[in-house]
């Protein structure tokens, strides 16, 4: 470090400012800072530099996500088993209500697989958003103590959700196999589907993290917004069958809904009776489009307020 400053100082000498004790006295703080090459503390770096710093912190992000996941269950006796139990119990509750009691299963082959896929995929987005809202606001202690690109926080939280989803996927695959599906080449599509959804979720988490850092009420409001979104996304019914008689624009709105897009893709990948004719048009294009739009847009939006996080 000292070498850097020496160079700066030598540079100042070269342009003709003699190192006399009185030379700096007349300078304003700003001029003095400029002369010795000091930078504004806590200033927001450029987007490229920011991305570079973020990449430099990838091991921290990964370790933070892993540690948080582990710490979650250390007090419970069953420990990490809850990572599998939670989605399983969730699926059981929804099956009891929507499958057996209300009977929305009419006309859907293999309703269990259909329902469980929908729940797990929507839960991935839902929990990413919920943890994203608190990612900055809930970690002010860390943000006020250490220096790192703040985007690390929402990204680490979405990584946690991705890890949770991967555990859920094993449960999901087991359920799908038990309900009589046979693995096909289509199953490989789950990787691009999950990847695009993860990018989308990360972008969304970055957006709500910035919003949540200023509007603390958002954390209270979010569960209602998300529940509304879930009921519109065809998690426990088939949009395809529901909208047969609906006006055209309603259909388009429901089809372009990103949550519905990712759910449809996963069902198409895993369930044999869901054929490409039931998928909305341009489904892959909208999956990639949403991921790029929200992923990049969310990242830039979060970066724009980088120096503001921590004021609380």
């Amino acid at each position: 470090m000292s070498t850097v400053s020496e160079t700066t100082h030598d540079g100042a000498v070269a342009v003709g400012a003699p190192p006399a004790p009185t030379a700096d006295d007349g300078l304003s703080p700003t001029e003095l800072a400029a002369k010795y090459g000091l930078s504004v503390s806590g200033a927001r770096p450029g987007l490229v530099e920011y991305t570079r710093q973020l990449w430099g912190r990838r091991h921290f992000i990964n370790e933070f996500a892993k540690a948080r996941t582990q710490a979650q269950y250390t007090q419970a006796r069953l420990g990490q088993l809850w990572q599998v139990m939670t989605p399983l119990l969730n699926a059981a509750v929804y099956y009891l209500i929507f499958g057996l009691l209300i009977g929305t299963s009419k006309g859907i082959d293999n309703f269990i697989a259909f329902l469980v896929t929908g729940i797990f995929i929507f839960t991935f987005t839902q929990s990413s958003v919920l943890s994203g809202v608190r990612a900055v606001a809930g970690n002010l202690g860390l943000i006020r103590a250490l220096h790192f690109p703040r985007a690390s926080m929402p990204i680490a939280f979405t990584l946690m959700q991705l890890q949770q989803l991967i555990m859920s996927m094993f449960v999901l695959l087991a359920i799908v196999l038990m309900t009589g599906e046979v693995p096909t080449m289509n199953w490989l599509l789950l990787f691009p589907a999950l990847f695009t959804q993860w990018i989308f979720n990360t972008g969304l988490a970055l957006i709500v993290a910035r919003l949540g850092s200023k509007m603390t009420d958002l954390a209270q409001l979010m569960p209602f917004i998300l529940r509304t979104w879930m009921y519109m996304s065809g998690v426990m019914y088939s949009i395809d069958k529901l909208t047969n008689s609906a006006p055209h624009f309603v259909r388009i709105l429901l089809d372009i809904n990103p949550a519905a897009v990712y759910i449809d893709l996963m069902r198409f990948a895993l369930i044999d009776s869901v054929t490409s004719s039931q998928l909305p048009p341009h489904v892959w294009a909208s999956a990639v489009g949403w991921a790029l739009l929200v992923g990049i847009g969310g990242y830039v939006y979060f970066w724009k307020a980088e120096e503001q996080y921590g004021r609380g």
Binding site: M1, S2, V4, S5, H9, P19, A20, P21, D24, P29, T30, L32, A33, Y36, G37, L38, S39, V40, S41, G42, A43, G56, R57, H59, F60, E63, F64, A67, R68, Q70, A71, T74, Q75, G141, L142, I143, R144, A145, L146, H147, F148, T216, E307, Q308, G310, R311, G312
Partner: protein, 268 residues
């Protein structure tokens, strides 16, 4: 110890002809917005009424923690920051570290100042071992650096002196043990501008001596050291200049002995 002191004195005197500023604090104001303040008397209907009439809630209060503080620190200086509780000492350190954006004014720094402390990054439910890794990465070390310094950190903390404690969750540690581990992790990294917030008084006497020695080492490597402390003796031992803050305002800034004397007269 004597050697270290001598060196620092040499360094502060030598640059008198070429004083290189490391941190410039220029008329800085820092304001916290605190939610959930007040008595909570406001009912839901009252809150709705305020929302409609666009008045700000009494539950949100703005705390003006630092009011127009200016000073400049130079290479080789060790600066003590004193003042009573709540006078804005920790706040100004966080602002210098770039962690808390100032409301008005500017702070210029040479390189990235760092606060000595990783408490917030550590997780009590994880083992000491995982916390060493997490804390190191949180401070910006690379994976290789963490791996190579791991043993040094554990040995320095002395956690394993009484058996294999490093593989137990941190919540099982005594408060002294946890503090030692935290200090050891935080002190494992070298800094350009180092800021210490009352980190000296942790652990038993043997550990205190070890940590003081480590702080002197860090001081030698760092360009400038800031120390916040209520212990005037540790300020006298370490610092050649003292900044006295009171109620967020800069009351006095000068050589250690002068400022400490005024401060002691004031608090008597």
């Amino acid at each position: 110890m004597a050697v270290a002191e001598q060196q620092s004195v040499e360094r502060t005197q030598r640059p008198s002809d070429t004083r290189v500023p490391t941190v410039i604090v220029d008329d800085v104001h820092i304001v916290y917005t605190v939610h959930g303040a007040g008595t909570g008397r406001g009912s839901a209907t009252a809150a709705l009424g305020r929302l409609l009439s666009r008045k700000s809630s009494p539950n949100v209060r703005r705390v003006h923690a630092v009011k127009g503080v200016s000073f400049t620190s130079y290479r080789g200086e060790a600066i003590g920051i004193i003042g009573s509780n709540g006078s804005g000492k920790s706040t100004i350190l966080r602002a210098i570290a770039g962690l808390l954006p100032p409301e008005r004014g500017k702070i210029y720094t040479d390189g990235q100042p760092s606060l000595l402390g990783v408490n917030a990054a550590l997780m009590n439910d994880l083992t000491g071992e995982r916390n060493v890794i997490l804390g190191g990465l949180a401070m910006g070390m690379t994976q290789e650096e963490v791996r190579s310094r791991y043993q040094g950190i554990v040995d320095f903390s002395g956690i394993n002196e009484k058996g294999d404690f490093i593989s137990l969750p941190m919540r099982t540690y005594s408060s002294g043990m946890a503090a030692r581990l935290r200090f050891s992790i935080a002190a494992a990294k070298n800094h350009d501008v180092l800021m210490i917030d009352e980190a000296l008084a942790t652990g038993d006497r043997a550990f205190q001596r070890r940590s003081e020695a480590r702080i002197r080492e860090l001081r030698k490597e760092a360009g400038t050291v800031f120390l916040v402390s209520h212990n005037n003796n540790s300020i006298r031992d370490t610092c050649d200049r003292v900044v006295w803050l009171e109620k967020g305002e800069l009351l006095m800034d000068g050589p250690t002995d002068d400022v400490l004397k005024a401060y002691e007269d004031h608090t008597k």
